[in-house]
Amino acid sequence: MSGKSLFEKVWDEHIVVPETDDAPAVLYIDLHLIHEVTTPQAFALLKDQQLSVRRPDLTLATMDHSTPTVPVTTLKDLEVVAEAPAAAQIRAMIDNCEHFGIELYGFGSEYRGIVHVIGPELGATQPGKTIVCGDSHTSTHGAFGALAFGIGSTEAAHVLVTQCLLQRKPKIMAVTIDGALQTGVSAKDVILALIGQIGVEGGVGHVIEYLGNPLAGLNMEQRMTICNMTIEGGARAGMMAPDAITLEYLAGRPQAPAGADWDAAVERWRKLPSDPDARFDREVSLDASRLEPMITFGTNPGMVIPVTQPVPTDTGDPSFRKALDYMQVEAGKPILGKAIDIVFIGSCTNSRMTDLRQAAEMIKGHKVADSVRMLVVPGSQSIKAEAEAEGLDEIFISAGAEWRESGCSMCLGMNGDVVGRGQLAVSTSNRNFEGRQGVGARTVLASPATAVASAISGTIADPRELNRH
């Protein structure tokens, strides 16, 4: 009998009722993250059926998706800064949390922020937990060795009522990353390259476990960037085994275990890494030492190239042609040097201190090009405060960028922050789908470094060139 993988260890430990041919497994959920956009219909179901929330204590609530990134000092301001439906949705979240006894990290909370940023920040995200949220980027939390995946609103209702989900066991894909990253190449470039390699359909039906030496050189924020975008490769979850860096990150956080509980937890977490003889359904490897900064050229994250390379040649495929037409790029031609309108640094992919510090360091002493609007949106109010304590906000503002309150912001164009029709944005977010950032918006996904270099030059730029000046 072979050993167990990280995934299998977490899965097995949460089985309430095993799966059979006739019925899926009943899987216990340790942490349910909720936000304002995907829960109203779930709460409505509970109200209709007069049901209660089984474990409000395992439910973590915040507001991020439709919440504006301009200051809301009192709730009376809400209708001034948010469109009526968004304001109503935010008020529904506040009312629902109060009605069902769930603590909400809302306006006025120093912990409010993007749900996938604050879970780890609070120490609620921990190795070995099962974590779900009505949001596909729940895969982020897998960086801690949790099994974390996105669910729909009906499933959110299931978790609210029973703290469980009906699940079939997925397959497991091992992705081994080898080789050291070159200067100017970041975790974002690694995950973009992987999605380019396996395709946006490559991980369907699988959970990915990341293995390989370069992971040890990445901090938790960089690991989260990789797990975050794992869903863009079709896999619902990405997982990384906890190590000393994980423990160092978690120690002392508000919801992390403390004292004897911490020691017991660490003892348990040390057993989580996959056994040497663990079996995987599929194995993929990625040579990180050859990677360059990556940019997308099309309308899904798998349509990605090294920044110095031309757009691939036209295969005649209608989906490919539609994407190039939409993006107004030409097959066989580089997009390096193409004029841009917007730069967005933020989202659950790249809005943490590592990203902001790097961006600030690069932009210091430079100016955002006159033709470019640049938005920097911290992932949480805690990050905002920390960045401001370090003076990063002043660096961004004096360079000509906007500095905002936390939230999903321009990642998905539903909170007032949008890319205009036809405008081209270099964005550190996770999706370059048609219209994702606004109706008719065109999106190039890139690392914070590439985004900053592009903001300064006013064109899509190679961050390694900026470093040379």
């Binding site: 899926p24 409505a44 596909s136 499933e155 164009g413």
Partner: protein, 194 residues
């Protein structure tokens, strides 16, 4: 939820790969707190031009759309976000089955809870459906088959539990709630608490 045992319908064909949920329903329509009228937003940015007028060449604006319940799409339909608004919008519009060679995991899960049958077929059947829009097909949930007009039949995977729920219009929450004793037992006896 409506019971679905057998669907006989002409097909609508959207011959694009990787159709993401931001296309099925753009994020700006997600500020709703209900499901009412959500079908109006289905494929909004492909269905309507900048002035809000219907795009004549988009499949949902064709003359034979009324009554079509089967949507055939390219590979990896429903990729992207977990928004259940995507299947809600399709169902509200009148679609009851989506056919492809691959359907994204979260979208597939959400579909099965909303009376939208995800039909994953082999590449040959799929290509035939893409090449022959508007043909009448039969999706038989009980038999797990999709039948073409010439009598050819393809099978599609759907686990027994989901099939039972779709065929009887059952909300899975009822089944989960019946597991209460096991859940309480798990919470009491697990070796550590979150």
């Amino acid at each position: 939820m409506e019971k679905i045992i057998r669907i006989e319908s002409k097909t609508l064909v959207l011959p694009l790969d990787d159709v993401d949920t931001d296309q099925i329903i753009p994020a700006r329509f997600l500020t709703t707190t209900t499901r009412d009228g959500i079908g109006n937003a289905l494929f909004a940015d492909w269905r309507y031009d900048a002035n809000g007028e219907p795009n004549a060449d988009f499949v949902l604006n064709g003359p034979d759309v009324a009554g079509c319940e089967v949507l055939v799409a390219g590979r990896n339909f429903g990729c992207g976000s977990s928004r259940e608004h995507a299947p809600w919008a399709l169902v509200d519009f009148g679609i009851r089955a989506v056919v492809s060679t691959a359907i994204a995991d979260i979208f597939r899960n959400n579909s099965l809870k909303n009376g939208l049958v995800p039909v994953i077929v082999d590449a040959d059947t799929h290509q035939y459906l893409l090449d022959n829009p508007g043909i009448t097909v039969i999706v038989d949930v009980k038999q797990r088959t999709l039948s073409l007009p010439d009598g050819r039949t393809a099978t599609f995977p759907i686990d027994g539990f989901s099939r039972h729920c779709i065929m009887n219009g059952i909300d899975q929450l009822g089944f989960l709630r019946q597991q209460e004793a096991a859940i309480a037992d798990f919470e009491t006896n697990r070796p550590w608490t979150p």
